[in-house]
């Protein structure tokens, strides 16, 4: 299936399954990468076509992308957050992640009345002691995620929910340390139910939330039944 995914012939359920595996299985991801390495050189044979002039449109869309300086701001805030306790951590994460969190900010603007559904705790773990703890608030209106131990990397952790259909959806970037409060877009809240997987992958911050993870997850955990 790795070869067929790399070739691009999979569709429907099989494609979704491959995308799920890509995130869940480093071995599968490595096989896909190997096949891409074999097949991609064929791309040299594509014939050129007179291109449209869409450069100005591309340049305009770059403005919507996160610029590198935001990353250093994020790191600075994380440093402060680490020192000043949980409240500051949450506050800092909310303030800092504001501009880089989810595009559908409009969806999250109107908080619904809290329903008496208790919070759920999930643990996400990976190789070499990677560990995160997530607390999903009532009706998944918020999700606190605390990075306990993450591997060293210049990349930024991104949180994903993988529901029953196996297709990962981004919940946005999270801080490398301390607690990040994520406000899931309304459309994704129903997916944050027991049995769904939470995953964290390391990504470049530009363009987040991404439509699909670029690498295998460093940590995975199932949302437990209440």
């Amino acid at each position: 299936m790795a070869a067929e995914y790399a070739l691009g012939v999979l569709e429907g359920e099989e494609r979704a399954e491959a995308q799920r595996l890509l995130l869940a299985s480093p071995a599968f991801a490595a096989m896909v990468a190997k096949w891409q390495g074999r097949l991609d050189p064929l791309g040299e044979a594509f014939a050129e076509a007179p291109p449209p002039d869409v450069w100005s449109a591309i340049e305009a869309r770059l403005d919507g992308e996160v610029q590198p300086h935001s990353v250093s701001t994020l790191r600075l805030w994380q440093g402060i957050a680490g020192l000043s306790g949980a409240l500051a951590a949450v506050l800092a994460a909310v303030m800092v992640l504001g501009p880089v969190t989810l595009r559908d900010a409009a969806d999250t603007a109107a908080p619904a009345a809290p329903a008496p559904v208790p919070a759920v705790i999930a643990q996400l773990s990976g190789a070499d002691g990677t560990l995160l703890a997530a607390r999903i608030g009532p009706d998944a209106q918020y999700l606190d995620i605390r990075a306990v131990a993450l591997p060293d990397s210049g990349l930024t952790p991104e949180l994903w929910v993988i529901p029953g259909d196996g297709v990962p959806r981004s919940l946005g970037l999270i801080a490398r340390d301390g607690t990040t409060q994520v406000t899931p877009p309304e459309a994704l809240r129903p997916l944050l139910v027991d049995g769904a997987l939470l995953a964290v992958s390391l990504e470049t911050p530009e363009g987040a939330p991404h439509t699909a993870p670029s690498s295998t997850p460093i940590a995975l955990g199932k949302i437990p039944a209440i």
Binding site: A3, E4, L7, G8, V9, L10, E11, E14, R15, W35, Q36, G37, R38, L39, D40, P41, L42, G43, E44, A45, F46, A47, E48, A49, P50, P51, P52, V54, W55, A57, I58, E59, R61, L62, E65, Q67, P68, T204, E206, G207, H210, S214
Partner: protein, 189 residues
Amino acid sequence: MPTAAHADARRAELSGLIARVARGDRKALGLVYDRTSAKLFGVCLRITRDREAAEDVLQQVYLKVWNRAGRFDPEHASPITWLCAIARNASIDWMRKHGGPMPSDAAEDEPGAAGLGAAMEEMAAGEERAQIFDCLDKLPPNHQQAIRLAFFDGLSHSELASTMRSPLGTTKSWIRRGLLQLRGCLQGD
């Protein structure tokens, strides 16, 4: 050979530009666009078979390049191969999301053979063909055609079956056996 040296220089220049893009240099992305948009638009148009869709995907491709430039490794891939792969994958994503059942018919209307011919010519013209082209040439005709249609036209399993007018199980096995033979051939050098 001067042409090979020229190709090497172009490759090095493009790799350098991508490294600048990784550092947030917009001007460098503009230069990458100037040098590669004809090629990448060729990829998008070939697979989406729809000008408007191809233009939209092309924009997404350069935004992906902007975001992923830091992950390009010139030691492991040629820059144009890396860029074409982004364009091909983005186009296939678009097709699997929006293509629906329509493309199998459209693929028959589309002069697929002519497109294939154009790609073949360009391959033959390339002074420095990757080994995979020779391996592909050695496959049985059905396996070879199935893999070409999948790679260059972005056809899915079901679209392949309808385009090649064969049962789904048959075209799937052509793809699978063809891929295994390709792997064997690539390892056998």
